[in-house]
Amino acid sequence: MDFNQTIVLSVFIAVFAAIIAERIDKTIVVLLAAIGLIATRFIDFETAIHSIDFSTICLLLGMMLIVECLRQVRLFDWLAIKLALITRGNPAKIFLLGGIATAVLSAFLDNVTTVLVLAPLIISLAQGMGLPPKVFIFCVIFLSNIGGTATLIGDPPNILIGSQVPELTFTSFLEFLAPPAILSAAAALLYLAWRNKATIRSRSGHFQWFFISNLLLQDIRRKELEIQIPRRVIIRSGAVFFLVLLGFFTHSATHLEPPVVALSGASLLLLTFHKEIDLHRLVSHIEWPTLLFFSGLFVVVGAMEHTGILELFSVKLISMTSNLLLLILVVLWASAIMSAVVDNIPFVAVMIPLIKDLIASPQYSGQPNLHLLWWALALGACLGGNGSMIGASANVVTCAIARSKGISISFREFAVTALPTTLITIVISSLYLVLLYYF
C-alpha cells in the first residue's frame, strides 16, 4: 500500500470512527473529509464531482419531495386514523395491522417517514389502552427495516445499490428481495407475538379494559371528523403515487430511470396540490443533511477508488476463496454485523465498487449466480439495521418518539429483543440465498 492509499484509507477509517462516536454530526464529518481530500489533492475536484452519484441523490430528493407533499396535504394523518379505526382497539390487530402497515409503507416510503407516521399513533393506542407499549414499538422498528428491504426505494442501502448498478431494476429488487422480506416479516411478527402473548391478547372479554379501548376509538372517530381531508386529495395523491410505482415497475419498457420517475412524481404532486401546500415550508422539510452526507460520502469513496485501495481489497477478497456461495454468505453476514454496529451507508458505498470488481474478475466471470452478491449485500445491510438501537435511523427515531412519551428503552433491553429477531431474519436470508444458488 503506497503513501496516498494509506492516507485515504486512514481518512475513511477516521470518518467511520467519528460516525460511531456520534460527537459530531455525520454530515459534517463526511463533508470535512471530502473537502480535506480535495484540498490536499488526494482526489482532484473534477474526479470528486464525477464520483458523486447524482442518480442516488435525485432519487432520494424525489422521494423526499413526494413524502413531504403527502404529509402537507395530511394524507398520512388520514391513513393513521383509518388504520386505528380498523384495529377496533383490539391489541392483536394493533400489533398485526400496525406491523403490516409499517412494512408496506416502508417498502415504498423511507423508513424514518414511516415510523414518524405510525409510531406515535401505535404508541398512543397502546398507552391509551394501558398495554405495555414496548412490544408495539419493537414491532414498528423491526417491520420498518424489514419492509424497507423489499424494494429499490425502501431503504437507503437499496437506493445506493439500485442507482449504482443499472442492471438491477425496481422489478428485480422486488422479485429477489420481497420473498425473504415477507418471510422475515412473518417470522419477526410470530417471534414478537410468541414472546408477548399476554400483551396482545384481545380484551373484549374484560368489560372495563374493553370500555377503555372503545373510549379511545370514540376519540379517534372524533379526530377523523376533524381532519376532513377532501376526497379529491385522497384520490389525486393516490393516483400520482400509483403512477410513480407504475413508472418504477415499467422501467425496462419505458427506460425512465428511477430518479426521473421519482422527480416526475414529485413535480406532478407539487402541481396537483400547489394551492394546498406551502412550497417554502415543504422544501425546508427536505432532509438536506442526508443529501449532503451522501454527496460527501461519494467523494470519500471516490478517493478510495481513485487511489486504488478498493481494487487492492477486491484482489485480497478474491484470493481468499473461490467458493462463490461462501462469498455470498460472507457478504450477507458481514453486512448484517456491520449494519448492526455502524451506519450501513458508508459500508454499502464501499462494498458496491468492491462487488463490481469481484464480478468483473476472471476468477468469477461467467458464473451464473453472481447477482446474488448484490442481494446478499442488500439483505445484510437492511436487515442488520435491526441488530442494535443505533443500527438504523428508524430505530433511533422511534426510540426518541417513545422517550418523548415517557417510555425509556435501554441499549441492552433493545438488544435482548433485537438480536434474536435479527438472527432469525438473517438465517432466513441465508437459507433463501442458498436455495437461489442451487435452484
Binding site: G128, S204, G205, H206, Q208, F211, I212, L215
Partner: protein
C-alpha cells in the same frame, strides 16, 4: 380495585377532557358504553352487565378529579337497566339517546340564560375549549351586537380548536398569551370559563390556568362567569379531589428536583360573578342552594344502584 386499570382510565379521561372538553368526553363515554356492551364477549345477561357497569362506576369514582357528569350518565344507565327486562344492549342504547337529548336541552336552556350577557357587545375573554361554550357562541353569533372575542392562549391544540370555532362562526377575535392578559384587561368586558365540576364545599374545578386569570379579572372588576350545567355538580357529601397530581422528576445542572403538575385549577364559586346553568344565571349562594336541593335525590340514586 385494579390500580393499573384505574390509572389508565384516569389518564385517558384527563387527556380527552383536555383535548375535547368534558361535554364531548361524556358523549364519548356513553357511546363507548353502548359499543362495549354490544361487542362484549363475556356473559351478557342483565345481572352480569349490571355488575360490570357498577364496577365501571366504582372505577370512575376513584378517578381524580371526579367527573360527575359521566358518573350521572352511568347512574342513569344502571338504573335504566335495573328497571327493564329488555336486552342490555337495547336498554343502554335507548338510555344513551335519552341522555344525549337531555344534554342538548340542558345546553340550550343554559345558553338562553347566558345570551343577555353577550348581547351588550364588547369583548369577551375565552380560555379553555369546551363544547358547552361552543354551543353558547353559536347562539350568540346570530345576535345583532355580536361581541368580539379575545382568546387567552394555552396549549396550541386547544387554542387552535377555539380559533377554528370562532372562524367558522365568523367572530372577530385575536389571541393573546394567557400570561399577558394584564396588557389587554382594559378591552375585556366579560369572561366566560368552562367548568368541569363543582364540589360540595363550593370549589369549582376548572382548566389549568383559569384560576389565575379569574383572579386578575376580578381585581380589575371584570365580570367572570363559569358555564356549568347542574349535571356536572359533584353531589357527594364529601368533596372529591380537584385534580390529578403528577410528580415529574426534573434535572438542572445535575441537580434533581420534583415538579408537581396538576391537571386542573380550583376556585371557590364565590370568586366569580356567577354560574351559568340550565336553572339560570346563579350567584354563589344560589348555586349552593340548588346543589343541596339536588343532593337528596342523588343520594337515593346512589343507594338504588347498589341494590342490584
Amino acid at each position: 380495585m385494579n390500580e393499573q386499570l384505574r390509572l389508565t382510565l384516569n389518564t385517558q379521561l384527563l387527556t380527552l377532557d383536555r383535548e375535547n372538553g368534558s361535554q364531548a368526553l361524556s358523549e364519548d363515554c356513553l357511546n363507548a358504553i353502548v359499543q362495549t356492551t354490544h361487542s362484549y364477549t363475556g356473559v351478557k345477561t342483565k345481572s352480569e352487565i349490571l355488575t360490570q357497569l357498577i364496577e365501571l362506576y366504582d372505577l370512575f369514582l376513584e378517578c381524580h378529579p371526579r367527573m360527575a357528569n359521566i358518573l350521572f350518565d352511568l347512574q342513569h344507565c344502571i338504573l335504566a337497566l335495573q328497571n327493564s327486562n329488555r336486552a342490555p344492549e337495547e336498554v343502554l342504547a335507548t338510555a344513551a339517546a335519552q341522555l344525549h337529548q337531555k344534554k342538548i336541552e340542558r345546553l340550550s336552556t343554559a345558553s338562553k340564560y347566558a345570551l343577555p350577557l353577550l348581547s351588550k357587545g364588547g369583548a369577551i375573554l375565552l380560555h379553555s375549549y369546551s363544547a358547552s361554550l361552543g354551543h353558547l357562541l353559536e347562539r350568540a353569533s346570530t345576535l345583532e351586537n355580536t361581541p368580539r372575542v379575545i382568546v387567552a392562549s394555552q396549549k396550541k391544540e386547544k387554542t387552535d380548536k377555539i380559533i377554528k370555532l370562532l372562524r367558522n362562526l365568523r367572530y372577530k377575535f385575536y389571541v393573546v398569551s394567557e400570561y399577558s392578559i394584564s396588557q389587554v384587561l382594559h378591552e375585556i368586558t366579560l369572561s366566560i370559563f368552562g367548568g368541569l365540576t363543582l364540589n360540595a364545599d363550593g370549589i369549582l374545578v376548572l382548566a389549568p390556568g383559569s384560576a389565575s386569570l379569574v383572579s386578575q379579572l376580578q381585581a380589575a372588576q371584570i365580570p367572570s362567569y363559569v358555564y356549568l350545567p347542574t349535571n356536572k355538580f359533584s353531589l357527594w357529601q364529601e368533596p372529591a379531589t380537584t385534580a390529578f397530581k403528577e410528580v415529574r422528576i426534573k434535572t438542572l445542572d445535575n441537580h434533581i428536583y420534583d415538579k408537581h403538575v396538576f391537571s386542573h385549577d380550583q376556585l371557590h364559586c364565590r370568586n366569580c360573578n356567577g354560574i351559568i346553568t340550565e336553572r339560570g344565571l346563579l350567584t354563589a349562594d344560589e348555586v349552593m342552594g340548588v346543589f343541596r336541593s339536588l343532593q337528596s335525590k342523588f343520594a337515593e340514586h346512589e343507594i338504588a344502584i347498589r341494590t342490584t
